[in-house]
Structure formats: structure tokens, C-alpha cells
Symmetry: D2
Subunit: 162 residues, 4 copies
């Protein structure tokens, strides 16, 4: 059995609407990024939702956690907006044991220049394969446990609490 990947929206998959000048969701890019990376990891991909986490509710988080619980896979990767990644990780930790769940995202949309998306996807997929059971946030090349990480809103980087 391989890795289960869930897409939930977030900056990762935003695109630029040239008529309005706004950003919007069109399709997820994860499958094409895995092809670009020439990945041979066995994965099962599913889009759960395409929501900017500023619009994400506790019910949406519960949906993500329930999906983690009920899939057969023991190793799960979740693409998520960075602003509330820790909140979602916390809820999953309250629901899910005996699995390795890794959350990742991007600070810059994949379709733009200067995106950290490909790098984060590679790192998170590797962490999902090797980390012991637990819930982790994988950003900036590192994986931190859900209860020892926060996003520094000034710099945009993720750091340990301690």
C-alpha cells in the first residue's frame, strides 16, 4: 500500500485571474508536480475540498480528520493552506493515532515564479514515508510535530515553539 494524498486547497493551488487581477482555485497541480518530479512513489490521490483556510470551518477540519481515520493507508500527506495548518493538525491529532500524517503547503502559488511548492512536496512525501506514527507539519525542509510548531506570521517561516 502506498501514500494517501489529500488536496484541501490553499495557496499551493491558487491561480491568477488576469481579467479581475484576483487569485482563485482552478485545479490542483499535485498530480502534474509528481510527474514533473518523476515520482515513483505509489500514491492514491483525492481532492477533499478547495478552500482557502480563512474560509475553513471546524466542520471542514473534521471532514479532513475523518478521511484520515477511514482510509486504509497508514501514511498520509495533506496539502493545506499554511495559515491554519497547525489548527488542522491539532484536530487530526485528537482523532487519529497509529498513522503518520504529514501536512504541507506553499507560501507562493505553484503557478507563479519563485514557488516553494515542488521542494515542499518532495520533502513532505519523503517524510510521509519515513517518520514514525504521529502528526507533523512539513515546511521549510523540516518536519515538526504538531504540538511543537507554529507559523511565524511576520516572516512566513515555521518554527519550533520551544
Amino acid at each position: 500500500m502506498g501514500i494517501r494524498i489529500f488536496a484541501t486547497g490553499g495557496t499551493f493551488d491558487k491561480e491568477y485571474n488576469e481579467i479581475t487581477g484576483n487569485l482563485f482555485f482552478k485545479d490542483t497541480h499535485v498530480p502534474q508536480m509528481l510527474t514533473l518530479g518523476r515520482s515513483r512513489v505509489e500514491i492514491d490521490f483525492r481532492t477533499l475540498m478547495m478552500i482557502d483556510s480563512r474560509d475553513m470551518t471546524e466542520q471542514d477540519r473534521e471532514t479532513i480528520a475523518q478521511n484520515c481515520l477511514h482510509v486504509d493507508e497508514e501514511r498520509i500527506l495533506i496539502m493545506h493552506r499554511t495559515d491554519t495548518m497547525v489548527e488542522t493538525a491539532r484536530l487530526i491529532a485528537a482523532r487519529v493515532t497509529d498513522k503518520t500524517v504529514v501536512l504541507t503547503g506553499a507560501m507562493v502559488p505553484y503557478t507563479f515564479g519563485s514557488s516553494d511548492g515542488l521542494f515542499n512536496l518532495g520533502a513532505a512525501l519523503a517524510f510521509a514515508q519515513t517518520l514514525p506514527h504521529g502528526i507533523y507539519v512539513a515546511m521549510n525542509g523540516r518536519a515538526l510535530p504538531w504540538d511543537n510548531v507554529r507559523k511565524n506570521r511576520r516572516t512566513g517561516f515555521f518554527e519550533e515553539l520551544s
Copy 2:
């Protein structure tokens, strides 16, 4: 202490010479790729050589292995051309124990379109942080032990021997 990264050349760092139409080495791109990925992993970077492995000798491999032995770091990432990555891994395994050494590269030069470089760098950096001591080849999103991997020269993908 962080991760030691060695650059040794390979397709990863090739560039296109528009006057001759040939590919050549200019500078390594790894530091700028780590910045693009917004990496916060503590690393120490060193260029050992810039050699296409078709020109790589046993002496060059020995140089790489000796550097792995003598640095203080216990976790090492080596950027290497893919064609002879397994040969170099084999020699390192004969010289180095008690360290985690991960070799990675790219099938397409980083400066070109459609490069697997960023994805591989993210994955390999994650594997270097989490894998138990041993020598590994990290390509196509997976890390395989040096003695259970080969490059399929027809498809370009890395696969297990068994």
C-alpha cells in the same frame, strides 16, 4: 549540527552554452534552490568538484568518500550525476559506517524547464534527516539502499534490484 551537502557536478548543474549549443558547468545552483524552497534546515555546503560522471574516476570517488569520512557531520547529502550514482554509493559504503549518506541528482538540468531537481532536493534533504545510518540513493521520490538499487537506462528511473 546540521546536514553536510556536497556538490560534485552532474546533470543537476549543467547549463546551455548558446554559442556552441553544448552543455557545461558554470556554478552550482543548490544554494539558490534551498532559498527558493525557503529551507530552514541547518546546512554546511561545499563544492567538491564539478564533474560529469562519464569523466569521473575511481580517484574522484575516493575523494568523495574520504570527505564523507572526515567531516564532523553524521548526515550527508551528495549531489551527483545519475548515471554512476550507484557506483559512487558502493564505494562510500565500503569506507563509511555510522553515518547517513544520501545521494541525489536530476534527470534534467535545473536551469531547464521540466526539471526534477527541486523535488529531488526536497526529498533527499528530508531523507538525510530521517533515515537510519546507511548509504542511500534518493531519486523518484524514494530512498533505496545502495545495494538494492539500479538506474534503468532505458526509462531513466531508479528501481529496486529485487
Copy 3:
């Protein structure tokens, strides 16, 4: 004497702020794009302002027109946001005769994927060298006289009035 290029802001030079998720102006990219295009056209480049045309006033337009009048060059290229490009062209036509003035811009910021910026810059620079005196909007590969062009706000394309 060469071509005078004026930057005035517009989508062309917007960048993505990964902390806020908003777009903003940082620096103009025109000089680096001319280098990328390996341009050998003699040019004199000046940033007049960096304004989103939704914030552009008649005074700003007057500034642009006065600069066109007072520079020695007879051939001028203006980088401008697309929404109000025709309005600015109209004012310049009221102030400037005996010069070839070409306005261009981009529907997608240059730093993003899928940008029409490089293509438009090449086309507009060519039109600035060859068109007879007059004021023109150069978008979508064509140059249309200021009094026979409008932006179709639904499609984003520029078309003739007739």
C-alpha cells in the same frame, strides 16, 4: 538616438507578497527582460512612477505626456497597466505630435507563469522602431492607433472600435 522607455507600473511589474497574499510593486523588470531577450536596441530607460492605473490620476497622465514631450527621443515606449491604457494614450495624443509613442503592458505579471510580458515587450519595441509618428496601443501582437482601440473587459483582449 535610440528608443526612450518609460515604466509607469501596471500588472507588468507586480509581485506576489507571500506573507499577505497580496500583489505589490517592487522593481520594474524591463531591464532584465531586455537582457533575457538579448536586445541590442539602443534604449534609455526611466521609471516615471509605479502606479496601478486604478489609482492613476489625470495629473499622473499629464506627467507621462509631459515627459514624452520633453525628452529628445522621437520614439517612445511606455509600460502601462492595461485597464486605462487607452485613456493615457488619448491624453498623450492631445499633447504630442511628431513622435511615435507606443503603449504596452501585460495581462499577467511578468514574475508569474503564463505571462504575455516578454512577447509584448518584443512586439512593442519593434513597433516603436517602425511605425510612423502617432500614438499607438500595442497588445496581442498588434499595434492599433489610440483612437481605434479599446480593451474588451470581458475577454481581456484589445480590439478595434470599428
Copy 4:
């Protein structure tokens, strides 16, 4: 009637073969580049051949010239490898009068980073629409008549003879 565009190969359309490390022709990219540039110019596109000009014969050049003669369009753009662009232009000039024929190409393949392709395509398409009848080489943002241009093989730039 619009502009006739002929693709004949050249660096413009080369791609990197990641298995062999060599460059090769796959498909022309011109139609997708016109889409990226959001071009609204009426064009008729045809691939005549996909030949690196080091392999191009006088017969191939004659084929290109005959096609220029026999199409209905009066304005023609030819995508061509840069090394022998002037030679082909010379033969066309001997065969074709009463038409505007513009030759362009790229120093770096379109699919690579740092390509001048999009910029050159925009410029050449503009020159094809505005220049008086004659045969021209459009590179580096300028259009030079076929009998007053050469490629500087050391720098890669095109310059006037005088």
C-alpha cells in the same frame, strides 16, 4: 489575409532528452507561444521541416524560398536556426520580391530557462506586419536587411556589416 508563419527547426524548438543528455526536435512550440503571448494576429502556420541548419542543404533552402513564393500571403515569418539564417535569407532574396519576409530564431531553446524565443517571436511578428517589402533578419530586438547583417559567432549577436 494574415501573416504566414513557417517553422523550419533550429535551436528555437530543441528539447533536452534526459536519457541521452542530447538535444532533439520534438514539436514546434510556436503555436503555444502565440497563445501565451495572447496574440490576436491572424496567422497561417505551417511546419516545412525540422532541421538543424548544420544539416540544412541548398535544396532545403530552395524549398523554403519556393514556399515563400507560392503562398498567397504577402507577409511571411520564418522560424530558423540562427547559424545560417543569413544564407537562407540571401537565397530567398534571389527568389522573392514584392513580399515582406522576416527570419527569426533563438539562441536558447524555448523550453529552457533564459530563452530569447518569446521576445524574438513578438518582435519578428511586429516587424512582419510593418516593414516594407524586402527580406530581413529579426534578432536582438532589431530587423536588419538580409544584405547588411551577419551573426557574430563569438558573441552570438547579430550586427550590421557596415
